[in-house]
């Protein structure tokens, strides 16, 4: 069978924008990834895979004509990795009740 594979971010520098890839019937996402791993020196453990535009699992089985995308860690938004704010405090709006009521 053949699947359409798309590459993004740094993966595009290695593999181009996309390719038609041949796989044995019943092949999984893991097998598709294995076909790629020797061909680029990147942190494969950090990669996510989308199957038909939704995040997939390594064990998902591929089918003829599927669209599979290999996604490096995403970097949308504005500031750099490592600069995210601290996690949201567990104390939510409830702990603030009584403070500045109706002051919205």
């Amino acid at each position: 069978m053949r699947v359409k594979v798309l590459y993004f971010g740094v993966l595009k520098d290695y593999f181009g924008e996309g390719a038609d890839v041949g796989l044995p019937e019943g092949a999984t996402v893991a097998e598709l990834l294995a076909q790629h791993e020797d061909r680029a020196q990147i942190a494969w453990k950090s990669i996510a895979v989308a199957l038909n535009r939704d995040y997939s699992k390594l064990t998902d089985v591929l089918h003829e004509g599927d669209e599979v995308a290999l996604l490096p860690p995403v970097s949308g938004g504005c500031y750099a990795h490592g600069e995210s704010l601290a996690p949201l405090a567990k104390t939510s709006s409830k702990s603030l009740s009584g403070v500045g009521k109706n002051a919205d």
Partner: protein, 148 residues
């Protein structure tokens, strides 16, 4: 609900103005802009690209979840693609709500989650070269983790 990827400049004040309704007590805005340096290295411009169909689906899902989970009235999520100069808006999130606490929480959750899960990437162009930004690690439930 307004969910968009655009190659045009984002008119932040104009979009915010459209979000104020009579029942709202608060509009919280996150206006993410391109900074002039990364770790001290001078930035010339940024180039954003996306897996567009999937990014829009993910952005819509986040907006739906923000409304459902935080009980806010309405949400805008707009992300720019292509070449951005220093000072321009790369992402705009606007949350309108009857109460400010829910609006702040939803806005903060939206930008934090977008940065980890929506398939958008940026290449940073400096005076002396260009690199793909490192990116935030994917959450555990998303990362494939390699075949080995």
């Amino acid at each position: 609900m307004r969910i968009e990827l655009t190659r045009e400049k984002i008119d932040a004040p104009g979009i915010v103005a459209t979000m104020k309704a009579g029942e709202d007590g608060a509009v919280v805005v996150f206006d993410g802009i391109v900074r002039d340096n990364t770790r001290g290295r001078k930035t010339l411009f940024l180039d954003y690209e996306a897996y567009e169909e999937m990014a829009l689906t993910q952005m819509r899902a986040l907006a739906d979840k923000a409304v459902a989970d935080f009980g806010v009235r309405d949400v805008v999520v707009v992300h720019r693609l292509g070449k951005l100069e220093v000072g321009e808006t790369s992402v705009l999130i606007v949350v309108a709500s009857a109460h400010r606490a829910a609006a702040f929480d939803a806005c903060r959750w939206l930008i934090d989650t977008l940065k980890k899960t929506v398939p958008i990437w940026k290449k940073e162009h400096f005076v002396d070269g260009a690199v793909w930004a490192d990116g935030d690690p994917f959450p555990e439930e998303i990362v494939a983790g390699g075949a080995r």
